[in-house]
Symmetry: C2
Subunit: 351 residues, 2 copies
DNA sequence: CGTTAGCACTTAAAGATTGAGAGTGCTAAC
DNA sequence: GTTAGCACTCTCAATCTTTAAGTGCTAACG
């Protein structure tokens, strides 16, 4: 059976209505409010046909219809009418991003909060992979008991959570020298380049060779997302949506978002090419819990990945609003970053 | 009216029973199971009297009695019979703490997880105040755009970092020198001592004076706990307790624990002298939500504060178990730290 | 005077019944 | 293809009933 234009129109109405009201929609309400030129009986026939096609379901015979996961997918791909954001929302975004700090860790948190506030859903975010960031500076700080802290400053952030063992006979001065030598070698390299330093290069380091090896081992840690890079914001917002009047759904939801590992798993495997990605539980991805939907966007600016951001909520989600917010936040973020880069270039030129 | 021994006994029975069953306890069940020498009518008289004293309440005339917050407080202070932990639980604690990393940030997380796992409540923890930590090492790392990263390593490897502005005309070498000088000055001092450096001392720093001032400003920021120092574990555990079948309670609970600021506020103002602290909502502390109870312990070893740990859950909490777990975790932690210190001393001696 | 048995009273929780309302499916006619 | 009409189904809310639990009170007992 083919999808006639009227069927599409009706499906769109059903999804729109249901997203707004959370109440199953009836043939009568459609005929009265939206399709005044046909009767409810006609709509009823179309609805029955849409149900057969798998786009609609009903809980019981007299309960109106509800979109199936498949219907949401179709809605997002073909039916949804994108709108803009209100002036107020746009202002909010720009104000939120006007701060000066250029530390990515804070930025991720801010972005997550903005997304959650504007959409009224719980937002999740995962920061950019550190791997491709260029090392700006690096230091080894003695901690006093055979260990040293490795601090790496990249263009975007500070990595400071790995300790390395240092040889017994190494003095603080030695460590400092080693630190300098290594910093010089790695400066301007990305983390992933740095960790692939050849053995021959290593050989030149003489006495510092062992420290060097430890540093490289530590670098390998940064290839996987760390807990700190996974951010959650507005968990309490789920209560704004009626599906979470049901304790079972809340449990389900909470069990997912209370583990950063699980969140990372959900949003971590994005294909960087796709800008906006929608995963609907029990339809697209086995990891997304049933009755849940995950909409994410992977941002990048100047060829640099800026992380993946999104919201998680009930399948009956306001996709239009969510996607619009994600797009606008993306633009704002891109603007922010490229501005910063320009400032930097200007400064560099002055030099 | 005085509390006779029998009244105390009965109150104890009521609290014990209610904690175990979550069901209002009746005069009959008390007489049958625990006070076989008197009749239920007698118990009834005593219950009525305890109710008058404010220790018991009933939801409706025929619904058995439930302890009031005041009763829980009395129970904790006088009636509770402390027991030990099972062999299994003790093993679990020791195994969990046998790892080698002595980075406090990870330790806090582990401790929180252990507490939550053993008690089946949501645990909260706040790391040691940075203020009193002794500075071991300190470095300023150039970041390339008029800023430098200040990294501080303290005794327990608690790291603090923040950006400071550096004067335009300062070269990397200058920065490094400044870093050395400042590090030497502050080594062995606590953060709170360091931030109170006198103006006269500052004057001696000549060209580095401005940087020094920036560093001191940054130090002042560390007096408040950071978000990263507040840890939550086992949020999903609340569903193990019947009071959280009710969506209203879940909302209430989630709104508290979804903000690290609020959590910090709750557990941050502990008096270090008190080892175990119980706050019962609508009885002890206005910040603790009604129907909630917060049991915390502030640990220290070798005179050093190790942070505050605890659980948050319904008023009807298994205080005996919770307090026992907190005590045992405290002992294990103390053992761990003092062992580490001994190792360190041994090493120092060898030198 | 504390303790007890007995009994009337209260209340919640669970089940059954009912009626109203909403919505559909189907059929026959347009 | 569209529509009106009607029977059918199902939920939801209200009402009532029953049951079981537990108390409060009183009068009697040792």
């Amino acid at each position: 059976m083919k999808m006639s234009d009227r069927k599409k129109k009706i499906l769109q109405i059903v999804v729109d209505e249901y997203i707004n009201s959370a109440v199953p929609v009836s043939s009568k309400s459609i005929a009265e409010k939206h399709l005044t030129d046909v009767s409810s009986a006609t709509v009823r026939n179309e609805l029955a046909s849409l149900e057969e096609l798998g786009y609609l379901t009903q809980f019981h015979t007299s309960g109106g219809r509800v979109p199936s996961p498949q219907a949401y997918r179709f809605y997002i791909e073909e039916l949804m009418e994108k709108g803009g954001l209100s002036e107020r929302d746009l202002d909010y975004i720009h104000e939120a991003f006007s701060h000066k700090s250029n530390d990515v860790e804070h930025l991720i948190k801010d972005v997550a909060k903005v997304i959650s506030d504007l959409t009224d859903y719980t937002s999740v975010a995962i920061g950019p992979r550190a791997e491709e960031e260029k090392i700006r500076n690096l230091a080894l700080l003695a901690c006093g008991d055979g260990r040293a802290l490795l601090v790496i400053v990249t263009g975007e952030r500070i990595l400071r959570d790995s300790f390395i063992e240092i040889p017994e006979n190494m003095t603080e001065e030695d460590l400092e020298n080693a630190s300098h030598v290594i910093a010089k070698l790695f400066e301007g390299k990305s983390l992933s380049e740095a960790k692939d330093v050849e053995d021959e290069v290593l050989a030149e380091f003489g006495q510092y060779r062992q420290v060097m090896r430890e540093v490289i081992d530590a670098l390998k840690m940064y290839t996987r997302p760390r807990d700190e890079d996974v951010v959650l914001s507005g968990a309490e917002k789920i209560f704004k949506h009626p599906e979470y009047e049901d304790i079972g759904n809340v449990k389900n939801f909470l069990s997912v978002i209370s583990s950063k590992d699980k969140i990372a798993e959900l949003i971590g495997d994005e294909d960087d090419e796709i800008q906006i990605n929608v995963k609907i539980g029990s339809c697209d991805d086995a990891d997304v819990p049933e009755d849940c939907s995950l909409v994410t966007a992977t941002y990048s600016a100047g060829g640099k990945n800026l992380g993946t951001y999104g919201v998680i909520g009930p399948i009956r989600m306001d996709y239009t609003k969510v996607i619009t917010v994600l797009e606008n936040v993306g633009k704002a973020l891109e603007g922010l970053i490229s501005n910063k880069n320009k400032e930097k270039d200007d400064k560099d030129e002055k030099k």
